[in-house]
C-alpha cells in the first residue's frame, strides 16, 4: 500500500540545516495497521506530513499503491486515497462541522449520514453538526471532529497523528474500537497511527520506532513491543509525557 524508500528531510532553522528525517525506509502492506512511536521530537509528525505531501523529501521516494507519488501534490495524494488527521487540528471561522464532513466525504452527504461519523467518535451529533469549527470547540472536541473527517474520507490509507491526545478516558476505549472496526469493515484498508499509547500499540500489526529522525526498530508487534516496554534504554530515551488517562504511556 505505502512504501517509503530512503527518505531524508531537513529544514533550515536559524540559518542552520537541521536533519529531521534521516534515510527512513518503511513499508506498510495493504490491510495492515502500523503504529509509529518514539520520543517527542523524533520526527513522527514530519514523517506523516511527508506521506500526505505537505512536505517534500530532500531525497528518497514515496510509493502508494505501486505508483511513485514523490512529486504529487497534497490534493493529488488525497484524491488517490490518502487521508490525514492532524496532530493539531485546524480551526476555521464560519465553517461548520457539517461542511467539513461533507467536504471530507466528497459527496453531498445528508445530515444523518454526517451525524453517523460524529457518533462513531463519541460526539452527540445533534449538538455538534451545526457548530462552527472555530475557537469555541474544546481541544478534545476538535480532535474528535478531526478523526471523524478522516473516517468520512473512507480512504485506502488513513494516517492519524496522536489521535488519543486530549481524548478522555471514556472515549479512549471507543477510539480503539473505531480503529479496530475500520480494519474489519473494509478489507485491504491500511492505517498508520502515530501514538504513545500502549493500548493503541496493542492493536497494531506492526510497530515502528522513530528516534532522532531514524527508524530504530520496525517489525511485527510481537517482536518489537516487548523490547520497547520496560527496557531501560527506552525509559531513558523516551521521556514520554504522561497522557494520564486512557492507559500507560509507552513512549
Amino acid at each position: 500500500m505505502l512504501k517509503l524508500e530512503h527518505i531524508s528531510f531537513h529544514v533550515e532553522d536559524e540559518g542552520q540545516d537541521k536533519e529531521i528525517i534521516r534515510d527512513v525506509s518503511l513499508s506498510l502492506p495493504a490491510g495492515k495497521l502500523i503504529v509509529v512511536t518514539g520520543p517527542n521530537g523524533g520526527g513522527k509528525s514530519t514523517l506523516a506530513r511527508l506521506i500526505a505531501g505537505i512536505e517534500k523529501p530532500d531525497s528518497g521516494k514515496v510509493y502508494f499503491k505501486g505508483r511513485d507519488i514523490t512529486q504529487w501534490s497534497v490534493t493529488e495524494r488525497a484524491r488517490a486515497g490518502i487521508a490525514f488527521a492532524f496532530q493539531q487540528p485546524v480551526r476555521f471561522k464560519g465553517i461548520q462541522v457539517m461542511d467539513l464532513i461533507r467536504l471530507a466525504s466528497g459527496k453531498d452527504l445528508s445530515a444523518s449520514d454526517a451525524c453517523e461519523y460524529l457518533s462513531r467518535v463519541g460526539l452527540c451529533a445533534r449538538d455538534y453538526i451545526n457548530r462552527e469549527v472555530n475557537a469555541s470547540l474544546s481541544g478534545g472536541e476538535l480532535k474528535r471532529i478531526e478523526i471523524a473527517t478522516v473516517l468520512a474520507r473512507g480512504a485506502d490509507l488513513s494516517v492519524f497523528d496522536e489521535p488519543e491526545a486530549g481524548i478522555d478516558l471514556w472515549s479512549f476505549q471507543n477510539l480503539i474500537e473505531v480503529f479496530s472496526q475500520m480494519r474489519q469493515t473494509v478489507k485491504d484498508r491500511s492505517i498508520l497511527i502515530i501514538s504513545h499509547q500502549e493500548r493503541i500499540l496493542n492493536i497494531a500489526d506492526e510497530v515502528a520506532v522513530l528516534q532522532g529522525g531514524r527508524l530504530t526498530a520496525q517489525g511485527p508487534r510481537e517482536e518489537i513491543l516487548p523490547g520497547l516496554i520496560g527496557s531501560p534504554s527506552a525509559m531513558k530515551e523516551c521521556f514520554g509525557y504522561s497522557a494520564g488517562k486512557g492507559g500507560k504511556t509507552v513512549c
Binding site: V74, I82, P89, V90, G94, I95, Q96, L100, L103, G106
Partner: protein, 308 residues
C-alpha cells in the same frame, strides 16, 4: 408578479430573497418608479412629496410584521438619491428588508444613494436586513452610497445585517446611531470586494444613556486590487458598553484600512475595539487540500465560510 423583467426579478431574488410578492407591507422600486406598493393595517407606506422617497409608519405594538423595500436598477446611467424614513412605534417588533441590486450593462455609471432614517420608539425591536448586489458586464460602474441614521429611544433594540458580496464597484457607507438609555444596537456587516472595487464603511455610534450597548462587527474579504476602509467610532457618554470588531481576510493585492475610534466621556463607559487583518492561514488551506480540494477550491470554501 408586477411589471418586472427577468433581470429585475433576478436582482430582487438576490437582494431580498423575493421570488414573488412579499407578505406584509412592501414597496418595490424599479428604475426610479414604484413597481408595486402595499400598506397593511399597521404599516403605512406613504410617498414623500418634497423629495424622492417614502415615509413608513409602523403603529405602536405592531408584532411580527415585515416591510420589504427593495430597489432594482437596470438602466445604465441612472443616478438617484432616495430618502426613506421609518417611524417605528413603541413596543413594535418588526423586520425590515431593504437592499439594492444594480445591473449595469452600459457604459455610464449607475448610482443609488439611499438615505434611511430610523426613529425607533421605546421598547421597540427592529431587525433590518440590507443587501447590495451588482451585476452586468458594462464599463459603467455600479455605485451605492447608503446613509443610515438610527435614533433609538429607551430600551429599544435594533439588529442590522448589511451584506455586500458581489459586483458593487464603489460604495461609501455611513451609519450614525444615537442610543438612549437601555437601547441596544447590534450590527453585522459582511463585505467582499474584488477587481478594482472600493468600499468604505464609517460608523459613529453615540451611547447617550445608562445601560446602552452597541456591538458592531464587520467581516470582510478583499481580493484582487480592491480597497476597503472600516472606520468605526464609538462614543460612550454614560454607563454603557460598546464593542467593535473588524475581522478581515486579505488576498492578492487587496488593501484594507481599519480605523478604530473609541471615545469615552463617562467613567463607566466600557469600550473595546478589536481588529485583525491577515491572509488565509496556510494550515487551513493544507487541511482542506488533504480532503481532496485544490488550493483554489480550499480558498473558496474558507472565504464562503468566513462570510456566511
Amino acid at each position: 408578479m408586477l411589471k418586472l423583467d427577468e433581470i429585475q426579478k433576478r436582482l430582487l431574488a438576490e437582494v431580498a430573497d423575493l421570488h414573488t410578492v412579499p407578505e406584509g407591507a412592501y414597496n418595490i422600486r424599479s428604475n426610479s418608479q414604484s413597481a408595486g406598493r402595499k400598506s397593511t393595517a399597521n404599516i403605512e407606506i406613504i410617498p414623500k412629496t418634497d423629495v424622492s422617497g417614502l415615509d413608513i409608519r409602523i403603529k405602536p405594538g405592531t408584532k411580527n410584521e415585515s416591510v420589504h423595500i427593495p430597489v432594482v436598477m437596470t438602466e445604465s446611467g441612472l443616478k438617484e438619491a432616495v430618502y426613506n424614513d421609518f417611524h417605528i412605534g413603541a413596543d413594535a417588533d418588526v423586520t425590515i428588508v431593504a437592499g439594492c441590486g444594480i445591473d449595469n450593462c452600459g457604459n455610464q455609471d449607475s448610482q443609488h444613494d439611499g438615505i434611511h432614517r430610523f426613529f425607533v420608539g421605546k421598547g421597540a425591536r427592529v431587525r433590518y436586513v440590507e443587501k447590495h448586489y451588482g451585476s452586468g458586464s458594462g464599463a459603467g460602474k455600479r455605485i451605492l452610497n447608503p446613509v443610515t441614521e438610527v435614533y433609538q429611544e429607551e430600551n429599544s433594540t435594533v439588529e442590522m445585517e448589511m451584506v455586500q458580496i458581489k459586483g458593487v464597484d464603489d460604495t461609501s457607507r455611513t451609519t450614525l446611531a444615537e442610543l438612549a438609555s437601555g437601547a441596544k444596537l447590534a450590527v453585522r456587516e459582511r463585505l467582499m470586494t474584488h477587481g478594482r472595487q472600493s468600499a468604505v464603511s464609517a460608523y459613529v455610534v453615540r451611547m447617550n444613556g445608562d445601560g446602552a450597548s452597541a456591538d458592531v462587527v464587520s467581516r470582510s474579504v478583499a481580493k484582487d486590487e480592491s480597497y476597503q476602509k472600516f472606520d468605526a467610532k464609538l462614543v460612550g457618554s454614560a454607563a454603557c458598553t460598546g464593542h467593535t470588531e473588524c475581522d478581515s481576510i486579505i488576498m492578492d493585492r487587496g488593501r484594507i484600512l481599519a480605523v478604530p475610534g473609541l471615545e469615552a466621556n463617562h467613567v463607566d463607559a466600557a469600550l473595546v475595539h478589536e481588529a485583525a487583518i491577515g491572509k488565509i492561514a496556510g494550515d487551513q488551506i493544507m487541511k482542506l487540500m488533504t480532503l481532496g480540494l485544490t488550493e483554489q477550491e480550499a480558498e473558496e470554501q474558507i472565504v464562503n465560510g468566513f462570510l456566511k
